[in-house]
């Protein structure tokens, strides 16, 4: 599918709190160096006590609106992807739409597809905007994900959000969305049952048959569909459940690892789930030059990957300076927590 849609605004948000992998390892008697080397994660972001997927989404969306420089009432759709929506029933999207001032003349819904609901929202936006059902569509990936105490996920499950406004006015497009391709199967690698507090995963099964098969399948599919090849791209952003998997994808597919690193944020903020590859895209958009091409491939357990080819336009350089705060600002501010305070922040004790 080719379309004439593009990203006209984007924004990110990462909470200010961090916990080091070393500190988590200390509590569970693990060897810190082994964990840090094994997962490629130094520290991860932790939400404040008054933050959740909705508040993260609102701030990322406000940044995106400022970059797009459009009235919020012109958004025709708001789709919010997350696996940690604050309510089981009651949409996050209505709260976001209300907080940014897009209501009531707007379509809205929540999405859930493990870590790829944010990119699914981008695809929906492309469809709505290309078909003129909406002038602009907001796509948000946001999560404050949980890892079971003592589980490997506890070292990586972070918090963050990224928002993208899709539009079709040529003079507003910052990155042309040239093509998208999805690779989807029923693969039970990771899940969380209704009412369960923590997710369950298939351990090593989450690698080959899940992450690698789908990420590489979608990326290869995009190449075949568009006739593009690895050399056509200046940046690759892959879903990043840890700091190592995206680099392994590059090795397996023979891609230049240096093109992956600029969009690799997990080593310093953790895996932000629905926001993980979208935040990686924000990091790249903050430095990309006009004419450069970016490939984005998300991954959501369950399982599926969405791959996108986009080309940066001349408009990006000026537009990105309109962001009240860029990703680097959020990543740079750090309030470190020890494990005790972390437990309080994530309300992991039954009595909290």
């Amino acid at each position: 599918m080719t379309s004439e849609t593009g990203i006209v605004g984007y924004g990110a948000y990462v909470p200010s709190y961090r916990i080091k992998a070393e500190e988590i390892a200390r509590v569970w008697g693990e060897e810190p160096d082994r964990i840090i080397k094994g997962l490629g994660v130094m520290e991860k972001s932790v939400p404040g006590l008054d933050e959740d997927a909705a508040t993260l989404a609102v701030e990322a969306s406000r940044n995106a609106l400022a970059v797009a420089d459009i009235e919020p009432s012109r958004l025709g759709a708001v789709y919010v992807g997350s696996e940690s929506h604050p309510y089981a029933v009651k949409p996050t999207a209505t709260m976001v739409a209300e907080a940014i001032g897009s209501t009531p003349d707007v379509m809205a819904a929540d999405l859930e597809f493990a870590c790829k609901a944010g990119t699914a929202a981008i695809q929906i936006g492309m469809g709505l905007v290309a078909s003129h059902m909406a002038e602009y569509s907001l796509a948000v990936g946001t999560d404050t994900s949980q890892g079971r105490p003592g589980d490997a996920l506890e070292y990586t499950a972070g918090a963050g959000a990224a928002a993208f406004i899709i539009g079709r006015q040529k003079e507003q497009i910052l990155a042309k969305l040239e093509a998208t391709y999805s690779f989807t199967t029923d693969t039970p690698d990771f899940w969380r049952r209704q009412h369960a507090e923590f997710p369950t995963h298939g351990g090593r099964f989450t690698g080959e048959p899940a992450y690698f098969r789908h990420v590489m399948g979608a990326t290869q599919g995009l190449f075949e569909k568009t006739g593009m090849e690895a050399n056509d791209f200046d940046y690759f952003v892959f879903h990043q459940p840890n700091g190592k998997f995206p680099l392994e994808v590059a090795k397996k597919m023979g891609l230049d690892v240096e093109k992956v690193k600029p969009g690799l944020m997990t080593p310093i903020i953790g895996n932000t789930y629905s926001a993980a590859s979208p935040i990686g895209l924000c990091a790249v958009l903050d430095i990309a030059k006009p004419g450069q091409r970016i490939l984005l491939t998300s991954f959501g357990s369950g399982a599926g990957s969405d791959s996108f080819a986009m080309e940066v336009t001349d408009n990006l350089v000026e537009a990105r300076e309109r962001a009240p705060h860029k990703l680097a600002w959020y990543v740079g501010r750090k309030n470190y927590l020890d494990y005790g305070l972390y437990v309080k922040h994530r309300r992991k004790l039954k009595s909290l």
Binding site: S16, G48, D50, T55, E59, A99, I100, R333, K344
Partner: protein, 133 residues
Amino acid sequence: MAENIAITWRRIPERYRLAGTQCTTCKTKFFPPRKICSTCRRKGKIESFQFSGKGEIYSFSGVHSAPAGLELEIPYVLAIVQLVEGPKVTAQIVDCTENMVKFKDKVEFVFRKIRSDDPEGLIHYGYKFRLVK
């Protein structure tokens, strides 16, 4: 204590995005929104007004003994923020400790959880402020 749903709902525009009002006769801005201008009275004309969310610390205090529902957040900073458009609002200052705040410090508005009617009630969201540094 759970707040009445209708009261929460009615205040969503002001709490979520600092939607206020202004009197077009005397240009006074109101937050929380007022329906009648206290100066112009019946000669005043009220219309909606969107605050920018920018302001400065007018006064502040560290809270060490929290009201019900906010126990986990202590110690936190509660401040009177003077908005650049004029009105003063009382709100929490997030992501900081008392010793980081000074009078006249610049702040910006953020959207956060205010309170949660646990365990199955409504989650209340609204404005707080963050130091701009």
